[in-house]
């Protein structure tokens, strides 16, 4: 009788343990997914491309700037998406990748795998943004933030080009950028940015609220 009870207890214990395991695993994965869905601060981008800035290959009809934290692991996905965009629209697109660089750090601090990946993309200008001033000027606060300006210097896309944090793949941001370039749609698109914050404290910005306008 004791043995039977013990067996029953063991079975119940196994069921409880299995249920706990299922719960823990499911909740853990859900939490991880939820973390990946945590968006960064999209911020308010400049509605007009500043005239004092010169983007490489400015003869192209569109100018795209991506602000990247050189150590942000999530931005690999952003660069991957950027390479897809570049592959499809490089004849119309002038791309500059702006790497955040604290002033108190050497340039080697910024020469990470992200920087080397960016270097491998042809016809892309790479620059270092000391203390994130340029990013702050454009209102970019999260690594992977992309702003797209048309030939008129008007902002037509503001946001991220990844589906979630550190995840590449089809997403509304990439699709939107490519559609704007292909259709020359002048409507402004804002997408969430997934990545590490560029700075702990927000820098003074010239950006005005430039929301989605259709």
């Amino acid at each position: 009788m004791r043995t039977c009870l013990s067996e029953v207890a063991k079975r119940r214990l196994a069921v409880v343990a299995g249920a706990i395991w299922l719960t823990v695993c499911t909740c853990g994965v859900a939490a991880l997914v939820r973390y990946s869905r945590l968006t960064g601060d999209t911020g308010a981008a400049l509605c007009e491309f500043p005239t004092d800035l010169q983007v490489q290959n400015s003869d192209k009809r569109f100018s795209l700037l991506m602000f990247v934290h050189p150590h942000c692991p999530c931005s690999h996905a952003s660069l991957e998406e950027l390479m897809r965009i570049h592959a499809r629209a490089q004849q119309d697109l002038a791309i500059e990748i702006v790497f955040y660089h604290p002033a108190n750090k050497s340039s080697a601090w910024a020469m990470t795998s992200l920087w080397r990946t960016a270097q491998a993309i042809p016809d892309v200008r790479i620059s270092f943004d000391s203390d994130g001033r340029t990013a702050g000027r454009f209102g970019a606060k999260t690594s992977g933030h992309v702003v797209l300006y048309n030939s008129d210097g008007r902002l037509i896309f503001n946001g991220g080009i990844t589906p979630s944090r550190g995840h590449e793949g089809g997403n509304r941001g990439t699709t939107s950028v490519l559609e704007h370039i292909r259709s020359r749609d002048k409507t402004r698109e804002i997408c969430p940015v997934f990545g590490c914050p560029l700075q702990a404290q927000a820098v003074p910005t010239d950006a005005s609220i430039c929301g989605a306008v259709r």
Binding site: W21, G28, L32, V33, P73, C74, P163
Partner: protein
């Protein structure tokens, strides 16, 4: 027989299912072990991936440990823990397989997540499904596919962009993803079913093989037992034979000694037999001679009587009267007529001479008769002696002999005794048979038997004494029986009657019947006796072979 076949078939079916389950269990255990290792490797790979791809999260120039590290360590450990524990402690069980499938799919999600959603990392899902197909249990694939489907469904509902990359997505997009999984599942299901069939077929073959082996084993066991029992029996027989051989050897040596002794005894007996035969022959001859002498003696008595009679009659002869008459005539030769006529004595002379002649004639007749008797007796003596001489000189010679002649001779030898004691001899000879034999030995036997019969009937107070001689001819032999109505033989003496030295007759020496039996054996015949007991008479039967008639 049919029931045996059914039982055998049921047993084979049971064994087939048992083997199939056992093989499935083995496959499941092996796959569990592989997945246990894979879980560990995936855990390590996840941690390494997190460490390499997303070691730290940054804010400006400050960083902290990335949540992926914690997730890889703890969540990955949690995901791997239960499948590993079950694989170790509950290998081969269904719950282990399904836990492994669940954990593996979670690992696919984790690795995809850690890799930043790289397309290539999605191959982990399909690879994992193929790996799970090692279980050859489509239900495991169902579990894994359900995990994927539910995961995609829930993500599509709550965080569509995390999976599909777009914020606004079709509510049925998860079905497309699941359909690709099901696409692979179709092949994997088919593979599982096919492998299951092959496994079952292999198990069936093994069952048949085991069944065959079992039957062979049973036969071998039975045969071994038979051989063992045969061996034991053979060994016991061998041992007994060895013991008997030893006994036989001992017996042989003993027998050899006995044979040697017997040989010596037989030689001695043969010599003795020779002596017996010789003695028998001598005794027989003596018997015959005795009879002959007896008969001769009897005849001589008659001869003596006749001679005495002749002498007495000669003494009482009338010749003296005739001489006296002749002297008277000489005295009166001158006056003979006167004397014959005048003298009274002369006148009686003619009557005297007449009477004398009559007397002399009578005496002469008596003497002639006596002389004839004498001559006859002498002839009888001559015949007896001649017969004795005949039998005495032809020992060991076989010749055709008429049984009636032998009986005549035997009876002649014993005639006087038989007549003297007023013994009636009856001959019931059926056939006048001629056989080829040694007639002297047969005569010796017959004389002995007739003599014994004579003594047997003499010993009784019976007035009518008879001896019956019967000859019966058979195809191969002749039977001569001598039956008497004498004193008979007690039953206890019948077995010893032919033994040497055995006799019931006063004055007998126990030699006659023994020698007669030996003689019968030498003639390749037999001598037997039967008697109903005392005063019931006895019958001796001599059986002789006919023998080959040569130069008859």
């Amino acid at each position: 027989m049919k029931n045996d076949a059914v039982v055998c078939s049921q047993f084979e079916e049971y064994r087939l299912n048992e083997l199939f389950r056992h093989q499935q269990m083995l496959i499941s255990r092996q796959t569990d072990q592989m997945f246990a290792g894979l879980m560990v490797l995936q855990w390590i790979a996840g941690i390494l991936m997190a460490l390499i791809l997303s070691p730290r999260t940054w804010i400006g120039d400050t960083s902290s440990l990335h949540i992926h590290i914690w997730a890889a360590v703890f969540l990955g450990g949690a995901v791997s823990s239960l499948p590993i524990w079950l694989a170790i402690h509950r290998p081969g069980q269904a719950v282990t397989r399904h836990a492994v499938a669940f954990g593996q799919m979670l690992w696919s999600a984790l690795l995809i997540h850690f890799s930043g959603g790289r397309i290539e990392s999605h191959f982990h899902v399909f690879g994992s499904l193929a790996f799970l197909a090692f279980y050859q249990d489509y239900r495991v694939l169902v579990t894994a596919s359900l995990v994927i489907a539910v995961d995609h469904f829930l993500r599509g509902v709550w965080w569509p962009q995390s999976v599909f990359g777009v914020l606004v997505e079709s509510p049925f997009r998860w079905i497309e993803h699941t359909a690709w999984v099901l696409f692979e599942d179709c092949f994997l299901f088919y593979s599982c079913l096919q492998n299951g069939r092959l496994l079952r077929e292999n198990c069936r073959r093994q069952t048949l093989l085991e069944s065959t082996n079992r039957r062979i084993e049973v036969q071998v066991t039975e045969r071994t037992h038979q051989l063992q029992s045969e061996k034991e029996r053979t060994e016991s027989v061998y041992l007994s034979l060895a013991a008997k051989a030893e006994q036989l050897s001992a017996s042989n040596s003993m027998l050899a000694d006995q044979i040697a002794e017997r040989t010596r005894a037989e030689k001695a007996q043969a010599a003795l037999q020779e002596r017996y035969i010789e003695s028998s022959r001598i005794a027989g001859m003596a018997e015959v001679a005795t009879g002959v002498l007896h008969n001769v003696g009897n005849v001589l008595n008659s001869v003596n009587v006749s001679a005495n009679l002749l002498i007495e009659r000669s003494k009482r002869s009338e010749i003296a009267i005739l001489a006296k008459a002749s002297a008277v005539i000489d005295q009166h030769c001158g006056e003979l007529p006167k004397f014959l006529t005048e003298d009274i004595r002369g006148r009686n002379f003619p009557r005297l001479l007449h009477e004398l002649s009559k007397q002399l004639s009578r005496h002469e007749e008596q003497q002639v008769r006596e002389l004839e008797n004498l001559t006859r007796h002498i002839d009888h003596i001559k015949q007896v002696i001649s017969m004795q001489q005949t039998y005495a000189h032809l020992q060991g010679h076989t010749e055709p002999v008429r049984i009636s002649d032998l009986l005549d001779d035997a009876l002649k030898i014993k005639e006087s005794g038989l007549i003297r004691h007023n013994i009636h001899v009856i001959r019931t000879t059926v056939d006048d048979v001629t056989i080829v034999t040694d007639k002297h030995k047969v005569l010796q036997i017959l004389v002995n038997l007739i003599s014994n019969a004579k003594h047997a009937v003499i010993a009784t107070s019976r007035e009518y004494k008879e001896v019956v001689l019967t000859v019966t001819a058979e195809i191969e032999c002749v039977s001569i029986s001598v039956q008497d109505n004498g004193q008979g033989i007690p039953a206890e003496n019948l077995t010893n009657i032919f033994c040497h030295g055995f006799t019931t007759r006063a004055g007998g020496h126990g030699f006659g019947l023994h020698s007669a039996a030996l003689a019968a054996q030498q003639l390749k015949g037999s001598l037997s006796v039967c008697s109903d007991g005392p005063d019931c008479g006895a019958t001796f039967t001599l059986i002789l072979p006919r023998g080959r008639i040569q130069n008859v």
